[in-house]
């Protein structure tokens, strides 16, 4: 198990967003986290990446508790993520966005950066290009990131996450705002990442076709609780999942 969520709870101003969540993610899998609006999926992702603190419980990553570890150190451990609302660095060029991901493993001291004349290593730039090639953005490398269409910005975020050389990527609604063709490309890319790079993926997504198509395992959240867990076909048939989505009889 690469990621274990044990009894995680979180409340916002009296409202319980997460209640004793338990589930784990197997290494090398695409694990989807689904559930109706307000179920607490993004909150859980935020807690895993360390942006928000949980009230109680524990999270273990590669068998080490990451409770209380600040977000940038979690990234160093190998947790990367993308954002539902697109947090690209708009004023940087596309390849520079990737460079910010490479910063983690290649950073130099502040002082050293100031006295090194030749700037960024050629190697790193070449590395950034190859990542861009991997996510099909090489032809856009010199554009300002903010000028890309949404679909490509999503790919860029994914590429940037890849650049940190992670073991686990958290994807927060990567298909939101994409058209059919883009969604299809994305699902292929996600599978490729799992298969070729052996990176585990935790996916929050509303596009059920995508989720059902690529996931190895699905956890369903409703009202801050896990209501079902299983393989896609099982989930589709699960009556409590159906009622959570369609309403009760």
């Amino acid at each position: 198990m690469i990621l274990e969520i044990n009894n995680v709870s979180k409340s916002f101003g009296g409202i319980k967003a997460l209640k004793n969540i338990n589930f784990s993610v197997k290494e090398g899998e695409i694990h989807a986290l689904i559930g109706p609006n307000g179920a607490g999926k993004t909150t859980l992702l935020n807690i895993i990446s360390g942006i928000e603190k949980m009230d109680s419980g524990d999270i273990r990553f590669k068998n080490i508790s990451i409770k209380g570890i600040p977000p940038h150190k979690r990234a160093a451990l190998g947790i990367a993520r993308t954002f539902q609302n697109l947090e690209i660095f708009g004023n940087l060029k596309v390849f520079e966005n990737i460079l910010t991901g490479l910063y983690l493993k290649n950073q130099k001291g502040f002082l050293k950066s100031g006295i090194t004349l030749k700037g960024i290593d050629k190697d790193l730039i070449i590395q950034s290009f190859s990542i861009l090639e991997y996510v099909n953005l090489l032809n856009k490398k010199d554009e300002l990131a903010k000028n890309l269409p949404v679909g490509e910005q999503r790919l860029l975020e994914l590429g940037r996450a890849l650049a940190t050389d992670p073991h686990l990527i958290l994807l927060d609604e990567p298909a939101a705002g994409l058209n059919m063709r883009e969604t299809k490309n994305l699902s292929q890319l996600i599978q490729k990442i799992r298969d070729e790079k052996a990176i585990t993926i935790l996916l929050v997504e509303h596009d059920m076709e995508l989720v059902m198509g690529i996931s190895d395992m699905i956890t369903v959240l409703n009202f801050g609780e896990v209501i079902a867990e299983g393989e896609p076909l099982m989930i589709q048939k699960n009556p409590s999942v159906i009622s959570a989505y369609l309403g009760e009889d």
């Binding site: 409202i15 109706p36 609006n37 307000g38 269409p149 949404v150 910005q153 609604e173 939101a176 705002g177 058209n179 509303h206 596009d207 059920m208 076709e209 995508l210 989720v211 059902m212 198509g213 009202f223 076909l233 989930i235 589709q236 999942v241 159906i242 989505y245 369609l246 309403g247 009760e248 009889d249």
Partner: protein, 246 residues
């Protein structure tokens, strides 16, 4: 009564509504169902004028509303109960209700508004009990009623309800839905109901539309939709025919 034609909406850079057309007849309850991110809320916000459409037409009783500001749209008779209720938490219940009448408030209508408030209290006696309480201290169900009551204060012809069941316990959800039917009768309203809770919504509706990734993929009478397998597919990505084959 309400006519929407070929509506295209971008939310930031996201192309969220694609050539959406729908209509409501006077006195109907119409449900708009679909999974998260399908664009339901965006559609309501566009009708209310909070979001400007890129192209398309929205008309109420033949009057074009497409480029009016939200203030003017309220005056034209469309009120929205937003998703998440959005009550003014640190104002009292009564102040919340009163603010609902902002669009028709003047020296002359003061009296009339007082009467309207009483009418709301008749419908929701619980709110009357708690009129001096801060809205933030109400329970979820009570806040939902307050949000509905507040919207009714502008004397709308058309009420837009965005996920009234969200975050509520099942028994409260039933109560809320029964109120909606009651309201429609008392105020002779037309209601556009956006719900994830498809079964409950369709039960009280005359007709329904199914929205998927920004497109209307189905429309029909409530009963038809309840039976339709595509509705389930839209929600769960489940291809029932394929399943049969296995």
């Amino acid at each position: 009564m309400l006519k929407i034609k070929n509506l295209d909406v971008y939310y930031g850079k996201l192309y969220t509504l694609k050539k959406v057309s729908l209509h409501l007849n006077k006195g109907e309850i119409v449900s708009l169902i679909g999974s998260n991110g399908a664009g339901k809320t965006t559609l309501l916000n566009t009708i209310s004028g909070l979001i400007k459409p890129a192209s398309g037409i929205i008309a109420l009783e033949g009057k074009d509303l497409t480029n009016l500001t939200p203030e003017k749209i309220v005056k034209e008779g469309i009120a929205q109960v937003p998703e998440g209720r959005h009550v003014f938490k640190t104002l009292s219940v009564e102040e919340n209700i009163l603010l609902g009448a902002y669009s028709r408030y003047s020296m002359k209508t003061k009296r009339e508004i007082k009467e309207s408030i009483e009418k709301i209290y008749e419908l929701f006696p619980k709110l009357k009990e708690r009129r001096k309480q801060l809205a933030g201290t109400l329970s979820g169900g009570e806040q939902q009623m307050l949000a509905i009551g507040r919207a009714l204060m502008s004397k709308p012809k058309l009420l837009l309800l965005d996920e009234p069941s969200m975050g509520l316990a099942p028994n409260i959800i039933k109560e809320v839905f029964s109120y909606i039917v009651e309201l429609k009768r008392v105020f002779a309203l037309t209601v556009l109901l956006v719900e994830q809770n498809a079964k409950n919504a369709l039960k009280i509706s005359d007709r329904g539309y199914v929205l998927e990734t920004g497109r209307i993929i189905l429309e029909g009478s409530a009963e038809d939709l309840l039976m339709n397998r595509d509705v389930q597919r839209a929600y769960l990505g489940r291809d029932l025919d394929a399943e049969v084959r296995i």
